[in-house]
Amino acid sequence: MKIPIIKIQVRQENFDLNDEIRALTANRTDVGAVVSFTGICRDENHTLSALEIEHYPGMAQAEILRIAEIACSRWPLGGMVAIHRYGKILPGENIVLVVAASKHRQAAFDGANFLMDFLKTRAPFWKKEFFADGSKGEWVSAKDDDDGALVKWNQPEP
């Protein structure tokens, strides 16, 4: 494929998935597969009032771009989009979007999955929880699972 289109944004506003996919696929016929990941603010127990997402403005976008460039060097991707929101996020609202476009489906799946796994552990964002009962916010702890998720990307390709 040609040089991949890469779009990385760190912003407060919500995103529109259809618009982002259209930007990667319009006026071209070399994309056969588009995989998207949307991360949403959960609140299973109805205890959360909101998340506040803090980020490192100078670094967040640059770090996601570095990860996207690695993904594009590892798989034949035609384009990637990553949008991460910051500020106050309510339960049910979108937090993050990743889209990967490729000729082939497995490259699109792997590119999007890889970008999400590394974004989780390397992009400088931190979530603070605020509770419905008005109690003080707590910073979300990093999960060992997230580090564990990286292991699969160091396996040699099958």
Binding site: Y56, M59, E63, L119, F125, W126, S141
Partner: protein, 86 residues
């Protein structure tokens, strides 16, 4: 060596501010040296630096490669806990 230090998440809250300009002594050459120097600045630093393994460091917006990473030529050092975005 004039340096900008920036803090995020609960480290920012413990330090009490989000950024500062400092003049580092010339013998502070690595991330490990910086941690030692910060420990001497008061209990708000000493507190979180008792768990140095969970402190992440970025040098000019790039993750530092270990505690021996050199601060030479760096203009901005960030200290923060493990990331929880996504």
């Amino acid at each position: 060596m004039n340096m900008k230090l920036v803090y995020f998440s609960w480290i920012r809250e413990r330090v009490g501010f989000s950024e500062e300009e400092v003049n580092l002594p010339s013998d502070v050459k690595t991330v490990a040296d910086l941690f030692d120097w910060l420990r001497g600045r008061g209990e708000e630093f000493e507190g979180f630096l008792q768990q140095p393994d969970i402190i992440r460091v970025a040098l000019d917006h790039v993750h530092a490669d270990g505690r021996e990473a050199s601060l030479s030529g760096i203009k901005e050092i960030a200290l923060f806990p493990p990331m929880t975005g996504g």
